[in-house]
């Protein structure tokens, strides 16, 4: 019997898994997709928010500010790139400038440090590409950037090193309360008996809660679409540039990523289908329009990709983090929309407290490993280090992804690491191979070959992103059929 089963391998579930892996107990994380970070954690703005946005007193506000403070140390410990570049909320008219003062007050009430309003000259000196209409901005120096899937994967890897088991491709299809009051989590891969369940199922948290007979709430998917620009325009914005927010959304921003790209987005549209991560033409137009309000000269010819993410919005419009009153041992961690990424480390600590309250005894492990296995990024090394590395392992001398300079050794490592990559997209998220300007055109056949070799499978079995997404459909000449006659003339 497990002590804890965590449902959902997003940044929330993996943060909790990693936090609980400090203690001596049996933990399994179940995830319906083929990899962690496949849902909301993969499609968001990748910003570690300062915390001025949420209403004072909400869980969102408290956990945002608390999470923000935990980030630098966490990323250091897990070797995850984190950049404290700061955020700006830009006002383009008098009304918006007034609103900045409200935001400043709200932020200070929430406990955000260093907030100040800057005027036109200072603003344009900071961000020369801003619209000439920009007249003032709220400067939040504690806003930062992180790669959300890199963080989620790092948390998963480290949790796995510390004993957390990961069941991937394992959607939860039922939850039963047993006679001994233990819980049974059912998946197509088998059932797991456990004392506690943590429901971190993101967009599907409401369905999982219902499945267990716990409190009912609703999660509405709210879509946000994004466009990503080539790295050569990485200087377009230094900070995360927000418009003055509206009631429902922080608005469409122009923002750098920790990897040096620029993105614009997201818009914000409630939809019905929790799997609908399609990008729509009107959505693209909307974000271009929004982005141009802040930075009029967008390099639209140099878009390298578009994507959409779904926010998991609860009917309370706040995070739902509490032990069920109806099902003992069942803990909901639902409605984790923005600022969920920022809050995740603080949510993990909060869940630990709830588990203690619910009677779980926590004994710290002596052998806890705080760091994940060292991850080498060839493109970030200097030439002397590169030279040394290739001598140790010649596969570092074989560049597979030329846009992002990713070597064969890094791809092999991504496959062999804890919770290793099993698909082209999983390799991409771990190494950035295929994430550059050619979007895998050059490297995907090579990555497929390495996956085939490392996993000892047929190339036909390699998928883009799990079951059903195979890249290849057959060998050559396999589809040739004798159609009778000898005439293919018209």
């Amino acid at each position: 019997m497990e002590d804890v089963v965590i449902i959902g391998g997003g940044v929330t579930g993996c943060s909790i898994a990693r936090e609980l892996s400090r203690y001596d107990m049996k933990i399994t994380l179940v995830e319906k997709e083929e990899d962690v970070a496949c849902g909301t954690s993969k499609g968001n703005s990748a910003i570690v928010h300062a915390g001025f946005d949420a209403s004072p007193g909400t869980w969102k506000a408290k956990l945002n500010v608390a999470g923000n403070k935990l980030y630098p140390a966490l990323c250091e410990e897990l070797d995850v790139p984190f950049k404290l570049n700061g955020s700006l909320v830009v006002a383009i008219n008098e009304e918006e400038e007034m609103a900045l003062h409200e935001l400043l007050d709200r932020g200070e009430t929430n406990g955000v440090k260093g907030l100040r309003i800057i005027k036109r000259d200072e603003l344009h000196a900071l961000e020369p590409n801003l619209s000439p209409d920009a007249r003032a901005a709220l400067d939040a120096p504690t806003g930062g950037l992180v790669c959300p899937y890199e963080l989620t994967i790092a948390l998963a890897e480290n949790a796995n090193q510390n004993g957390v088991k990961f069941w991937l491709n394992a959607p939860v299809i039922g939850i039963d309360v047993q006679e001994d009051f233990s819980l049974l989590v059912k998946t197509p891969k088998g059932n797991i008996k456990t004392k506690y369940i943590i429901n971190a199922a993101g967009l599907f948290a409401d369905e999982v809660s219902k499945m267990a007979g716990a409190e009912e709430y609703t999660i509405t998917p709210r879509k946000g679409e994004y466009l990503v620009f080539d790295k050569q325009f990485g200087n377009l914005a230094k900070k995360a540039i927000f418009p003055t927010p509206t009631k429902i959304s922080k608005g469409i921003l122009v923002c750098p990523t920790v990897d040096g790209n620029i993105f614009i987005g997201p818009n914000s549209n409630n939809i019905e289908d929790k799997n609908d991560t399609g990008v729509n033409a009107p959505g693209i137009e909307e974000i271009i329009k929004g982005g141009k309000k802040l930075v009029p000269d967008l390099p639209l010819k140099n878009v390298i990709t578009s994507f959409a993410g779904l926010r998991a919005v609860s009917n309370t419009n706040d995070f739902i983090i509490e032990a069920s009153k109806l099902v003992k041992g069942f803990i909901n961690v639902g409605g984790i929309q923005s600022p969920g990424l920022t809050s995740a480390p603080a949510i993990a600590l909060m869940v630990r407290e709830i588990l203690l309250e619910e009677g779980l005894t926590l004994k710290e492990k002596r052998e806890f490993i705080p760091h994940r296995p060292k991850k080498l990024r060839f493109r970030e090394l200097d030439n002397e280090e590169r030279q040394k590395l290739i001598k140790q392992n010649p596969a570092y001398g074989h560049v597979i992804c030329r846009c992002e300079t990713v070597t064969e050794a890094e791809i092999i490592d991504a496959i062999r690491r804890p919770v290793g990559a099993r698909s082209i997209d999983a390799v991409k998220r771990r190494t950035r191979a295929g994430m550059g300007r050619c979007q895998g055109g050059f490297c995907s056949p090579r990555v497929l070959e390495i996956l085939t070799r490392e996993l000892g499978v047929d190339p036909l079995e390699i998928t883009k992103k799990g079951p059903g997404s195979n890249l290849l459909v057959g060998r050559i000449k396999e589809f040739l059929q004798d159609e009778g006659g000898d005439d293919n003339d018209k």
């Binding site: 990709t305 290739i390 570092y396 300007r437 997404s469 290849l472 459909v473 589809f479």
Partner: protein
Amino acid sequence: MINKELVVIGGGPAGLAAAIEAKKHGVKDILLVERDSGLGGILQQCIHNGFGLHVFKEELTGPEYADRFIKELEDMGIEVLLDTMVIELTKDKRIIAVSHKKGLMQIQAEAVILTMGCRERTRGAINIPGFRPAGIFTAGTAQRFVNIEGYMPGKEIVILGSGDIGLIMARRFTLEGAKVKCVAEIMPYSNGLTRNVVQCLEDYDIPLLLSHTVVNIDGRDRVEGVTIAQVDEDFKPISSTEKYVTCDTLLLSVGLIPENELSKMADIKMDDITAGPVVNHRMETTVPGIFACGNVVHVHDLVDFVTMESQLAGRGAANYLKNRMPLGKHISILPGEGIRYAVPQLIDPQNIINEKQNFFMRSTKPMEKARLFIESDKDLIRTKVIQHIKPSEMINIELKKEELADKDINSLRFFLQEEGVADGNQ
């Protein structure tokens, strides 16, 4: 630090021809660096015929065309490093390259020829809405899977864009027993060579839908279908014309982009239209001693022209190495009305190689018949009537040295004026 007289970056058709020609013109110490495990570049996956009609006066396949140059290069004893990727280039011609065999190498070259070729435009570059399932490939990637790896990336295929690789792959897939449902082209004319439209589409009754585009991709894990719509004059889809086509694969053949990351590192001036370096009469970039040729300069439609241009670059590099005298005054080549770009962008008329200069250019639109005007800032040099102009088929004009030299000209301008179509013989 390794010292080399000439380093050629890239072992495709451009690099091969440039290295061979430089050697023929007296450059002794040449190193060719290739990132793949063999020479020939993209020609190795272009197994179809149609190469070499200009250079060899015979019709070869891509690998055969490459093989002739590879043999010549080997016979000449030109040093080649395979599986070696250049990751840095400075304007002082210092190169950093890595390979699993030799580790990290620092090379100081006296001259460099850039022949990195081009890459394909992707879905992101043209912003097709919809999901992100498996089954969306650029035509060249699909070509590699089929022709090099021996695997089929799809069975029911829709092709977006009528670029030549897409057309070639339509035939290739059909002959392999897959079903190509249609080729959608957003322009009102094909972007491929007529020959390919006929022999790759018409031969197999594959519909070419002009003024059409893909407006949505359906399928979450694997492509299940695409929505195709006709577009208006502003290339906006007309919603009433939307049609759903089931398929498991969407192939993109929507253009090629010169791959100039290294050129930019070396502070070489780029041409916004070609997306390649600005070059002069001997294919030298704005950084003296760094040359460029082939698809890294501008995207060609025929490899034969890549070869010719690269031979010029090889000879140019040899000239540079022999005689470091600075060149004379350069004049600008300006694309005028009807001309999208012209290469080279600069020439030194006094130092033209071989007493003649070829100019490659592309028109802005198809024209039945037009007069090409070549004029300097002083006077009209020549005009020439050209029939059946298409943006996809490069215009190649040769000017003699005496037409350009001995005149104190500052610039040269090419422009096209459409003329009434002459009566046919019908």
